[in-house]
């Protein structure tokens, strides 16, 4: 059995350590803002292709989003067709997407709808670049939050060359291009 004085000192140090741990925890909680999640700023994204390769998930939690409301519904779609496509049809040899994740549907002359199959999309951003170069830029990359595991530090954010990843409040987890005017105002 330890002498009483020693016991007391030990208890005191232990109490002090507990207060320290609690204090450190609370002082970091002071900054506790609403829950944050990762998202891509489509204005900054340069479609480098790292979203497809650097996510801790395979396939990546980053998917191509399509804002139909700003889409031109072009027949000659830069996001769907390879630049050297011989014909404007759904032939595999004409498609830009490496996983054929985009479906082209005829709506009315001369408009076509382009729909992205999220199960097939790997988030490589090849169509995004095509749509940016030739079209309205209605296709863009976003983190899909039902897939994202919200890592401590997003591995893609660390690898992103254009600083396009940022944390946004979980209540508004998407930076949709079709909402941009609303966001700015």
């Amino acid at each position: 059995m330890k002498p009483k004085g020693k016991r007391k000192r030990r208890d005191f140090v232990r109490g002090a350590a507990a207060v320290l741990v609690g204090g450190v925890a609370v002082s970091s909680l002071r900054s506790c803002s609403p829950k944050l999640v990762w998202q891509i700023d489509p204005e900054k994204c340069t479609q480098c292709g790292r979203c497809a390769t650097h996510c801790v998930l395979a396939p990546s939690a980053v998917k191509c989003f399509h804002s139909y409301s700003i889409c031109g519904y072009c027949d000659l779609c830069g996001g769907y067709l390879r630049p050297d496509a011989k014909k404007r049809n759904t032939g595999a040899e004409n498609q830009l997407c490496p996983t054929a994740a985009i479906t082209r549907t005829f709506i009315e002359n001369p408009y076509y709808q382009y729909k992205i199959d999220e199960d097939l999309c790997i988030g490589c951003g090849i169509c995004v670049e095509g749509c940016d170069v030739f079209g309205n830029g209605s296709m863009y990359l976003q983190v899909k939050h039902d897939l994202c595991v919200n890592c401590n530090e997003c591995a893609i954010a660390h690898a992103c060359p254009s600083d396009a990843f940022k944390r946004v409040p979980a209540s508004e987890p998407y930076l949709l291009k079709s909402d941009r005017e609303k966001r700015i105002s």
Binding site: L29, T46, Y68, D146, P161, P173, S178
Partner: protein
């Protein structure tokens, strides 16, 4: 996979440029027309169509983040910690502790993909202290504080059966050999260096290196970069013979647990009753965490020991100064932890013609129209920050080495075989070696 994308992308660029000319000729007239007709909507090349068939735009599918599991994580953490404390202190059965370890490996590791984990949570806490705008989620806070508070009460029961990183190493430790105590003591400085580096990295905004270099999370998620899988694989192979190499010689959270466990209220004991000095337990511990009784006769005179202690205490400030010196010398390599510094050096190197090609980072920077001077100014500011941080890091490591020297030179009186409260993982291996039963 990555190589394929790079080459595919390079080819694509070429094709765009080549066919761009052809398409450009046909599009130019349309574009010019558009610019005149819709000057306000110049950012959209094509007008949004008005459909005659009554077609409506499909909605964009925007599922919200799911955080249903977070509450469960906290509940499971507290429950496993409590169970571990009961198994270690009351029931004293290695088998039960090991089963709980396997449960934690499956739940926190393979089911929850090793995130959120206590080891990484120190970085969030540090980030929360440094940057008031950074939000620390409640779950991370609990994962940081609960194991430390349990260590203050019951020792490192978190390491014993809750931590998934410890669990995967515990599961592969089949043929543990004893590491010589000298090697063990020297290598035990590494976690302090790792902790200091991680804190420096977080406080300078250079990223969470503990998460980036987590050797086992790749196995939990069934995917990681090649080099990290090799590192993790080597750690597991090493872990067959040197039990828990990550926990003992790298884990930065272990440093905090070590401190808290030294003060623990109730710590696991090797024997349930009185020690009979049979020495059987010394073979059981693969972690060098069992302290032998001190000899009755002190090996040296009291005054000799006191002089040595005095010299070592005087050595501590010298070690701190030495650390500060080494830290300030390491300013340049340390500052390269930060991506902005790396980018600035790359851009400067490219401008000087040191590199034949550009890389993705420099291309993205040059496309952003930020002036080079702004980047350089930011890098210089970061470097001064790293110079200051490097000195603090050096001072910290100097202090740690000084204190470790003092700790090894002090002989504490012990009459029995006891677990070392700081380094004992409470794994329970020694329990069944002890012939004393209650």
């Amino acid at each position: 996979m990555r190589g394929f994308f790079m080459t595919a992308k390079a080819q694509r660029r070429k094709v765009f440029r080549w066919s761009g000319l052809r398409v450009f000729a046909s599009l130019r007239s349309i574009l010019l027309l558009l610019l005149f007709v819709f000057p306000a909507r110049a950012e959209f090349r094509f007008p949004m169509p008005e459909f005659a068939t009554g077609y409506e735009h499909p909605a964009v599918h925007t599922p919200g983040p799911s955080n249903a599991m977070v509450g469960w994580d906290i509940v499971v953490l507290i429950a496993t910690l409590t169970l571990a404390a009961i198994f270690v202190l009351k029931r004293r059965k290695r088998r039960e502790i090991f089963l709980l370890t396997l449960f934690s490996l499956i739940y926190f590791g393979f089911w929850r993909n090793g995130c959120v984990c206590s080891v990484g949570s120190i970085q969030n806490i540090m980030a929360g202290i440094c940057d008031p705008a950074y939000g620390v989620p409640l779950a991370v806070l609990v994962f940081f504080a609960a194991p430390l508070l349990f260590a203050l009460l019951f020792g490192r029961v978190f390491c014993a059966a809750v931590c998934p990183l410890g669990a995967i190493q515990e599961a592969v430790a089949i043929r543990p050999v004893k590491v010589p105590p000298v090697v063990e003591k020297v290598l035990s400085i590494l976690p302090y260096i790792y902790l200091g580096l991680a804190m420096l990295s977080v406080s300078m905004g250079a990223g969470f290196i503990i998460c980036q270099y987590d050797p086992f999370v790749g196995f939990f998620r069934m995917g990681a970069s090649f080099s990290m899988l090799i590192f993790g694989g080597l750690m597991l192979v090493l872990g067959i013979f040197v039990a828990r190499p990550y926990c003992r010689f790298l884990c930065p959270y272990g440093v905090l647990l070590n401190w808290c466990s030294k003060l623990s209220r109730h710590h696991a004991t090797i024997t349930p009753a009185d020690c009979i000095q049979c020495e059987l337990c010394t073979d059981s511990c693969p972690y060098n965490a069992i302290n032998e009784p001190t000899p009755d006769q002190s090996p040296e005179t009291r005054s000799k020991g006191a002089w040595r202690l005095g010299r070592l205490i005087l050595l501590v400030p010298l070690m701190i100064l030495l650390g500060v010196g080494v830290g300030s010398l390491l300013k340049e390599p340390l500052s390269r932890m930060h991506p902005t510094v790396r980018l600035a050096e790359r851009i400067a190197g490219e401008d000087l013609g040191r590199y034949a090609e550009t890389n993705i980072e420099s291309e993205a920077f040059r496309a952003s129209d930020t002036p080079n001077e702004e980047l350089y100014a930011e890098a210089v500011e970061l470097k001064t920050g790293f110079a200051r941080g490097g000195k603090w890091l050096g001072a910290f490591i100097g202090l740690v080495i000084g204190c470790k020297l003092i700790a090894v030179s002090i002989l504490r009186k012990r009459t029995d075989y006891e677990p070392d409260r700081g380094t004992c993982f409470s794994c329970g291996r020694c329990f069944k070696y002890c012939p004393v039963k209650e």
